[in-house]
Symmetry: C2
């Protein structure tokens, strides 16, 4: 009987470990995809952009795998309280990472379009913004694997910097468009690229909140939202 | 013993019914919020826009309620196969509706900004696009409540029309911006409004896919994606 219990406990831990591994791989792929998409954008490399679009399927497949495993763990082991909270969090995090992958894919699609348009100068701010969100994803997944609520919360606080980047890029692009109406189309695509990165930062933040809740059972209190481009009014 | 089983079954059905009710209320609120946000946009009513932003909290609260109830059902009743699939679907649908609520809130924020800028003509295409996505949400939630896989699939096919709206609005706005560079800022906000509605259509579609899977256990095969603005190249 004692053996049976030990066996059950061990298998549950193994299941959870496997689920964590899938989530980590998803996170790693998201980091690679964002980096590759932005690299394709800056180097105007259509083939590389196409590869990013193609590779998104791997993230989608891992999400389906994570969900199926989570459902199997729940059905077979009927986990309680803390364990169930962690599995539900894992399932939600997999969903968020899948969406982050979609944003990377969308950046890659726009990179293909932008490669065919004349280069525009505000593109130079994008790689630094991308590095900021990639680091957020890396750290928030480390926090998930290590069950580190302090790190999870710290990541959520870094979203402000991404929002600052976005606000600054948004303003630069508007000015650039007004001064160069012939570049409105590529500028618009770059605006959506910036918005995608800003949304990735939001999603990394919400993963941080999910990790914090899974580990502590407590929600992080309301974070401030500093993408102010939908409320500021420096209109022409 | 027979009584006990009947009692358990009845309670489980009641739990599921309660979960479905919460999801339906979320869907109803999303419809109202999208309609109200677009109405505020067209009538340039800042107070109405502010109310939409405020009311988004009600959707967030319902999502938390749905998730807590789903976790409680899983923990207390250890549902199997089909039942578990439905509860997981309900939890995911609640998450998607929460994001749809966020898009409505973002439209409302931009409505406030746009109310302070000179009116621009392409705004007239927005309400019809909004009606299309509102109808999708309504029908996909009906499909969820009635466990109607046929209706769920039919809704996913209507996303094409929303994408057509978006593509047409995207092109009109670019042309409008090039001809009227002094209106670039409001046009950009309207571009994001259109993108939000297009994303709502995507989300309603993914709810349709979740409902289809929850009811039948089968995934709908790949749907075509017809937002082509990130790949078309009618650049200046």
């Amino acid at each position: 009987m004692a053996d049976n219990t030990a066996h059950t406990v061990k298998s549950f831990d193994e299941d959870i470990a496997q689920l964590r591994t899938i989530i980590s791989r998803m996170g790693g792929l998201c980091e690679v995809q964002i980096g590759a998409a932005v690299d394709a954008l800056v180097t105007r490399n259509v083939d590389a952009a196409r590869q990013v679009v193609e590779d998104d399927k791997r993230i989608d497949a891992l999400e389906a795998e994570a969900e199926a495993l989570a459902v199997r763990i729940i059905a077979l082991r009927a986990p309680l309280a803390g364990d169930l909270r962690e599995i539900v969090a894992a399932m939600k995090i997999a969903g968020v990472l899948e969406r982050i992958g979609d944003y990377a894919k969308n950046i890659a699609k726009r990179a293909s379009v932008l490669a065919q348009a004349p280069p525009i100068e505000p593109v130079i701010i994008v790689p630094e913004m991308a590095r900021a969100v990639i680091a957020m994803i890396k750290d928030v997944l480390d926090a998930f694997v290590d069950r580190d609520a302090v790190l999870a919360r710290a990541v959520t606080e870094r979203d402000r910097r991404v929002d600052d980047f976005y606000n600054s890029l948004f303003r630069s692009l508007l000015t650039f468009m007004m001064e160069n109406p012939q570049y409105i189309t590529p500028s618009t695509h770059l605006l959506f690229v910036a918005k995608n990165l800003e949304r990735i930062g939001d999603h990394a933040t919400s993963v941080g909140e999910m990790v914090h809740f899974a580990v502590t059972g407590d929600h992080i209190v309301d974070r401030p939202k500093t993408d102010d481009t939908s409320t500021f009014s420096n209109r022409t």
